[in-house]
Amino acid sequence: MAKWGMVIDLDKCTGCQACTTACGMENDTLPGENWQDVLYYTEGEYPSGQMKWLPRPCMQCEDPSCVHVCPTRATYKDHDAGGIVFIDWDKCIGCKYCMIACPYGVRFFADEKPLVEPDLKEVFAGTNGRLWDPPSKGPDQDSRRGIGVQPKGVVSKCTFCYHRVSKAPEGVPDLDEDDPELVEYVPACVRTCPPKARFFGDLDNPESHVNKLIGNKKGVRLKDHTGNRPQVYYLGAGASIPAFEPKS
């Protein structure tokens, strides 16, 4: 089985948030529940201050701390599904310990004040225990893997668009949106990225384009000191999270 990984080239990323929008459309997430987000920072001070940004999906870590802390094993790493970290919505008790343990802040408990008014949870009120019923609801629903519209009271996260990726032919080294044969299986954020800053492929396949990018362009993983070992690699200048500086 493949080990799916993502490579994000920060020298190409323009911070346009198309990935965030595509993710929200694909996975029926609420405003603010950004499984994929672009985080903005400012670095330095006038006159040399800079705006920086960092696209951030779930890292699908090789040794995920969220999995270790979950008291019900609701969140789990599925090696048979390319090493993707899923949440079993039927087992999640909503304790949010995984949100505390995740170093990357990629988990969401959408039971919070609405980011935009009117509250979409009220406009499209959920039925059958679902948090909401968006009119654009996708056909895929797999509560054992945290795919589809989430029920109330559980944590949700990026699934590397498993409902698409899982239908890819066995053994392909990369899922490239430029390949007409494979375009339907590419995760939404990768497929939509206008400057083609995202790449998706098999980290276990030495011939894959993502492995070559990581090797040739010195791919790095964020916060490696935590030992989580993400399956998402960053290329280019500024591939790190700026140090925290308290505001004076």
């Binding site: 008291p71 019900t72 999640c92 008790i93 909503g94 310990y97 949100m99 505390i100």
Partner: protein
Amino acid sequence: MTAETTDRRSTALFMPMLFVAAAIAIVTFAIVGFALMTQGHAAFNMDANVAWGLPISTYVYFALMSSGLTLVAALAMVFGFKQYYPLIKRAIWLAIITLVAGLSVLAMELGHTFRMLWAIPLNMQIESAMFWMGVFYLLDLIFMVWKFQRMEGGDWSSRMSRQIGLASFVAVLLAAGTLALVFGMMSMRPFWYDPTLPVWFYATAGPPASPPWCCSPISATA
């Protein structure tokens, strides 16, 4: 005033006090229940950046107060400080009450409280500090109720009763310790990350448990 009249007076007050306490509890839970149903967990001012809200700090306050009370009781139960004997029973009783209060508050934090009852025992995630916190606080509660039931029956110092007291002391050390580790093991949260946090929790468990004794007439006479 004889012991008998004291008993009679306290018995006469007992039921009205229970009714008042029950009324306060019902009104409080009704307010919180209404807020939870109308606003959801936003009522606790939580969002994606602040995952744990007001119920967690309240839970820790009650849980540590309960642990501190058990530690106070352990001075007599385990370490033989006889001057603390008059305190044991009410300390254990208050420890039971505060622990139940803490666990009730914790239940409000969860997205699916009742799912926890089968999902945790059936899945046995022994790597999670939260799992062990639940196990040890449950043991702590069982031993304290058992010890209280023994003392209620007049058995304060039989071998069995002393062993139950010792067991509740060990359970409470493990419980407060793993509660600390729930926070202290999070290397990605530098504000909490600290291997000595259990010691800090033991140290802070005492003070909230102490004030009732400072002004208690019984501690003055003990």
